[in-house]
Symmetry: C2
Subunit: 254 residues, 2 copies
Amino acid sequence: MSLGIFDSGVGGLTVYRELAKQFPDTDLIYLGDTARVPYGNKSPDTIIRYATECASMLVKRHNVDALVVACNTISSYAIENLRSTFGLPVLGVIEAGAEMAMAVTKNNKIGVLGTIATVRSGAYIKALEEVSDGKAIVSQRACPLFVPLVEEGVITGEIPSLVIKMYLDELIADVDTLLLGCTHYPVLAPLLASIYPEVNIADSASMMVEHILAGGLATIESGKREIYVTDITPAFESLKSMLVGDIPMQEIDI
Amino acid sequence: MSLGIFDSGVGGLTVYRELAKQFPDTDLIYLGDTARVPYGNKSPDTIIRYATECASMLVKRHNVDALVVACNTISSYAIENLRSTFGLPVLGVIEAGAEMAMAVTKNNKIGVLGTIATVRSGAYIKALEEVSDGKAIVSQRACPLFVPLVEEGVITGEIPSLVIKMYLDELIADVDTLLLGCTHYPVLAPLLASIYPEVNIADSASMMVEHILAGGLATIESGKREIYVTDITPAFESLKSMLVGDIPMQEIDI
């Protein structure tokens, strides 16, 4: 068995890293559609078409047994479509993140952090309501500087600490759990935890691990590691080496 | 007479602001192709096609007499094409910025600041060499966090000051002039000037003003102000109101 993990760009590597750690013996094939990133400003039809092309590459060329959508935009718009098109298990970051947040909160007060597009979409609010049967009390905060900080590798020290406090000092009084609603944000999790040691930090990857185990999707031994992108960009290269080291990367057309 | 100013997004508003200040009685029509921003990761053919569509909208619907390309990517790839297609004066930010830098430097040592794509393209190095007959001594520094800081409105205080020092403290010893090679950067010019009071800061807009005067492109009285975008985005709205106030803005298809 093997898992295909894909994202419009580089952020999904945080999910890849977590799965690679948890499932050393499972084939993990990553595809980043870096030539067409960002998806966030595309129409829903285009997002579904691009996502289907990515999934198709993983299913047809690499014969994966399940798809992990490591991208908020695709998870918002295309996941049902992918499920019906490919007839495979498809795990999305939004559902997994919402489940994780509800698993760790003590008082149901969740602070969702995301890009402007994700916050505007309300996708996490909807998912949290479903997962919690309406019990979740959700605040949101868009943190548009987090992605460029991560892509620049500015993830420790004074600059990211000040940016985190600028965005979160108000929110933090109202919640006991921060839900990282963007696949770039787990890179900042250690700094978030050191600034706000009392808060729970929930990301999607850990809950995906549980689903993969429960679904029996990570069972055989081979442990192939392959990363494909539609365009090798500086941000992808640097984040890739920071997150997953020297796993081979290849540029392809899809 | 009237001028059509266009950009893939919001940054060109810094040029618009300068022209509006200098030419209160000239029609200035702005187009931001915000639905398709960024152009930086598109192929040259696509950039030329999009730029031609933008220019066409300004020439055909608004009958402008000259085009101001307030975008580095378009200036790099499409300017000759636009000149031959439309047969109008076309001013580009790269040539204007290079001329301005050479006009203010005392020792020909220019530090070019830009996005990763602009720095990689070497477009300013080429333009500076041409403008200076090879006399310019050019250093470059990509400053990828400047655009998100400007789009977030984080343009004063400790965060942008630390980011500026992170990028420029080394470079600044080698140059007497900083060339702002990105249309977002003039928003940070006051902060740059306060951190490095001894350095000259060159942007494109002031030299464009001289070309417009020299070309007699700003002569009649009517002073229309119109701003069009292909998608109204939060970044455009907030930067627009910061830079040019309540000039009307309209979303259109091109």
